[in-house]
């Protein structure tokens, strides 16, 4: 059993207003980019070709992993989504 579409099994109420804002310039100078492989929702993607960190907030599980592993304060904003928005666990 392999779950290719793991991420499709989480529900969200997506907020247009992002609750996390990343300054990707700072990521260019990072030597580990631990967020890219630690985020359980795959929100961070480093492109070696473009030398750029791409970030999407839509599929964020609001766990705080990036907030902890980032040691360069690359966030201009890191907070929880506005009330009623974001990840919505049904059972789990």
């Amino acid at each position: 059993m392999n779950i290719d579409d793991l991420f499709d099994y989480t529900s969200y109420t997506i907020d247009r207003e992002p609750h996390i804002i990343l300054d990707p310039q700072i990521c260019v100078g990072c030597d580990h980019r631990g967020c890219a492989n630690s985020c359980p929702a795959g929100c961070y993607t480093w492109s070696e070709k473009e030398v750029k960190m791409a970030f999407v907030h839509d599929s964020c599980l609001e766990c705080g992993t990036c907030y902890i592993v980032c040691d360069r304060n690359a966030f201009t904003r890191w907070r929880y989504p506005r009330g009623g928005f974001g990840v919505s666990y049904r059972m789990t």
């Binding site: 793991l6 902890i68 009330g83």
Partner: protein, 432 residues
């Protein structure tokens, strides 16, 4: 819009709802703030709600009315390598009698139920309310502001029960701005639906008995472990990964989870199961050493926000500590209202109550466990030693045998060396 209450509780998880419940029962007008559409919407956990004796006293027989999945009567611990596994299992008739020793629950259901109990007791539950900041006047917390509608809620006392990252404690100046990745772990979980009868057949259970199993050696050498818990008609499978190790490990949590689910040992339990939900959350695993300031001017901190999580490697306790600390915070707030003293000094009764309870006693007792668990050998070399040892014991192939202690020492020497074996045994002895 500004509303006033006698107390504010930030977060309607187990700690917050228990705090609000305790205050409301004592007649206080308390606001219970929850950022989700309903309490529990943002919450997940590994799976065991341990017994909470303090809850037995105020919500008697809560295991009958609470949304419980199964009560755990059988616990397993498995050491795995790529193609072998060594398991120990403990089961007890005593765990099959009320009050049960532990339950599997779904947090969106359990947390919602506990918050509803607080509401029935008289608390005002305000959902969809993300706290943005604390309002500080002359050095004292006197309220909070909300992200939505720029609302403000005033009260002479607040309880920060807003979870592992606790921005409320941060903004009140009670926790340091930067967390240590070495003191945090990430839990990822997949929930599979499976018929009740199949679960009972596969795990040898009857009625609503439950089974839980922890796994070591399933994290590709990263510090962490796996878990499997039986719910009524679904199974939770997941991994807990130490962030310090995950950050530099080069593997993603979902790849590791997929690999774990694919191992024959796990796959056979999940056969025919359908994925229902994927979830993740952080766990404060630093123990006693990571507890922030828990008492401030007009504010108390409870639950995960206070780092109340006891990790020994054998048990992982959180919700019981959260609920109990929430009840103690509630009691402290009731006392503060009686004395009309919301100062740090007046509120220090909370710390005293925690020190006298199992919460601080256990965290102090196991204060060396988090460091002991920061030993990479536990997650790969030791499971390999155990499995290789058992393989040599059971394999009959016509070659002459060694006696058992020679066999064990040789296996251990090849994998970690005598010196490390001795040092690790000593560290584990001291920590546990």
């Amino acid at each position: 819009m500004k509303r006033s209450f006698q107390a504010i509780v930030v977060g309607a998880g187990p700690a917050g709802s228990a705090a609000a419940f305790t205050m409301a029962k004592a007649g206080l007008d308390v606001a219970l703030l929850e950022r989700g559409n309903f309490p529990g919407e943002k919450n997940m956990f590994g799976g065991i709600l341990h017994r909470i004796p303090a809850l037995d006293n105020v919500l008697s027989d809560y295991w009958i009315c609470a949304p419980i999945e199964r009560h755990v009567v059988k616990k397993g611990l498995t050491f795995m390598t790529g193609d072998a596994s060594f398991s120990v299992q403990y089961e007890s008739q005593a765990f099959d009698q009320t009050p049960y020793n532990g339950y599997t629950v779904f947090r969106p259901r359990f947390d919602r139920w506990l918050a509803e109990e607080a509401r029935k007791a008289g608390a005002t539950l305000l959902t969809r309310s993300t706290v943005d900041d604390v309002v500080i006047k002359s050095g004292k917390v006197v309220g909070v502001t909300l992200l939505r509608d720029r609302g403000e809620i005033a009260a002479p006392i607040a309880v920060a029960a807003d979870g592992v990252l606790s921005f409320t404690a941060l903004k009140a100046g009670l926790r340091r701005p930067k967390f240590d990745a070495g003191q945090m772990a990430l839990g990822v979980k997949a929930l599979f639906d499976l018929p009740k009868a199949a679960i009972e057949d596969r795990f040898g259970l009857v009625r609503d008995q439950g089974y839980s199993n922890e796994f070591v050696g399933c994290t590709a050498g990263l510090r962490g472990g796996g878990f499997l818990y039986t719910n009524l008609d679904s199974i939770s499978v997941g991994l807990v990964l130490h962030l310090g190790s995950l950050r530099s490990g080069g593997r993603t949590p979902y790849d590791l989870l997929n690999a774990f689910i694919e191992t024959p040992h796990i796959a056979r339990f999940l056969k025919g199961g359908r994925l229902l939900e994927y979830s993740a959350h952080l766990i404060p695993e630093g123990g006693y050493g990571m507890i922030p300031e828990i008492v401030g001017e007009g504010i108390l901190v409870a639950g995960d926000a206070a780092g109340f999580c006891n990790v020994t490697g054998l048990n992982l306790e959180g919700i019981n500590l959260a609920t109990h600390s929430g009840m103690l915070a509630g009691k402290a707030v009731v006392e503060a209202h009686r004395e009309k003293d919301f100062s740090r000094r007046g509120l220090s009764v909370y710390r005293k109550m925690l020190e006298e309870s199992y919460i601080m006693k256990d965290l102090k007792l196991y204060r060396r466990a988090p460091k002991m668990l920061h030993n990479d050998a536990i997650y790969q070399a030791y499971p390999e030693i155990l499995c290789s040892f058992m393989e040599d014991i059971y394999r009959i192939d016509g070659t002459p045998k060694e006696n058992l202690h020679q066999l064990f020492l040789r296996t251990a020497r090849e994998k970690v060396g005598y010196r490390k074996l001795l040092a690790d045994t000593y560290a584990a002895w001291r920590a546990l």
